[in-house]
Symmetry: C2
Subunit: 280 residues, 2 copies
């Protein structure tokens, strides 16, 4: 296929590298930064520039930018795309871009719009950190706008060929509600955890649980602030539910109620066992 | 060396297996459960039973039990040990057992007492889950009672030979303060996180950050309730500090203050970068 990628950061760059490694695809990329464009070329992440000329033959256009940049970045290319071309995105929040896509599908009814969110990432950003293995065994989430079942199947197989372990189709509303918990809340907790005063002391030792919990304290603040703010309804509900639960442990500790603390820990333990059992 | 191990659960069992794999040691174990004793024997984690006879020749006695069981489990063996024998423990909290050891060192001045906490573990418990690789690259923390520098050096080298990457000597007070944050708080957060209502829904997808954050939600409630309650002063301070920080994110979200949210995320990000840089 001929693939266009707008935005050649960690995700877009990794996509280009993955496609080039896989072979059988032509990749045309565009990034607002000239340096990034040069790097993408040097790193072999693209075959050439996505421009007025190359856009005409593109089979699938993938926008890998912040949700707020989606609309403005894509309008230049949409009038050039051939009939039946697929337009998709990599935004971590789906309600906003789905609304944009629904509007665009009325204006460009000959194009196919599907939202996408690759559940992959690293605690780094930028094309320098992009790798051709980023999507290995990850989940890809799709939120459909106007694709028929055959196109969806095609897109699903495309992502599976990139190394994704599964492709799940869901609604933008459910996606945003789930992601508030499984991704955004994790990042807030990790980012807040490292702020405890004692974290700045050098222990000379740490356990695996600490390394795991603080891994994603490192993040791109601009991007995550935007994604979280666009999902603030879901995310603040999840965060307040977590805070409410944490307060229970604090109260049990402060009142010296060991039986209550054990009960709280048992409830979490049993819930974790139940959830893990269901996954198998 | 001739090593005695009291308590053949995940930690004690793993210690026995590690020593037997390493060779050059004789391992005598005792567990209150007959089934565990039989399993330890069958799994090759011990050479024989630690009893009135074998205790006489032990060079080092390691107690791998809950802190509350430390004193009662050990009193049977202490009068039998030879002069210069080392008595140590694997308890996750050090102030309590250090107090016990200080008392014992007055009663048995010919014995050497050193507290120990291997910063290793799994989200499972029991000898069935014990492995000879549990201590690989982990940190071992020692809190000294009455050992001289030569014995400490000997004990340090002993633990390094088991696969530990580092052996750190610190005070029981500092240990308990640090561990409240680097281990106990991680377990509470993970255990509370999984309690959000939405966690029980089957997503069909999840990100690495979610897997990492919920890994230690599974724990031994009885053991952790005891360890946490014995450290409730330190732990409740750390927990309340975290809750206070989480509330700031919640407020920024609910008031729609993107600049404030970005500032909070940037602070955590920079702190993480600073801490990681210091480790190198």
């Amino acid at each position: 296929m001929k693939i266009g990628i707008i935005g050649l950061g960690l995700m877009g760059g990794s996509l280009g590298k993955t496609l080039k490694k896989l072979g059988g695809h032509e990749v045309y990329g565009y990034d607002i930064s000239e340096t990034t464009m040069l790097k993408a070329d040097m790193l072999g992440a693209i075959n050439g520039e996505l421009n007025e000329e190359t856009a005409k033959d593109i089979d699938m256009l993938i926008v890998s930018l912040y949700p707020s940049a989606f609309l403005s970045s894509i309008e230049r290319f949409l009038p050039l795309l051939k009939s039946g071309a697929i337009v998709t995105d990599f935004c971590g929040i789906k309600r906003q871009t789905m609304q944009d896509m629904r509007e665009l599908s009325k204006k460009y009814p000959h194009l196919i719009f599907i939202g996408g969110h690759p559940m992959a990432g690293r605690e780094f950003s930028g094309i320098d950190r992009s790798v051709s293995t980023l999507f290995d065994k990850a989940s890809m989430i799709l939120t459909n706008v106007n694709a028929d079942i055959f196109v969806l199947e095609q897109v699903k197989n495309f992502y599976l060929s990139l190394g994704f372990a599964e492709v799940v189709i869901t609604s933008p509303e459910y996606h945003d509600r789930a992601i508030a918990f499984t991704s955004q809340l994790c990042h807030i907790v990790s980012n807040a955890f490292i702020k405890n005063e004692i974290a700045s002391e050098h222990f000379g030792y740490s356990a695996g649980s600490y390394k795991d919990l603080t891994r994603v304290a490192r993040l791109n603040p601009e991007m995550w602030a935007e994604l979280m703010m666009m999902n603030k309804d879901n995310l603040s509900l999840e965060l307040d539910e977590l805070i409410g639960n944490l307060v229970k442990y604090s109260e049990a500790l402060k009142s010296g109620d060991k039986a209550e603390l054990k009960k709280l820990l048992s409830e979490g333990n049993e819930r974790k066992l139940l959830i893990d059992a269901r996954k198998k």
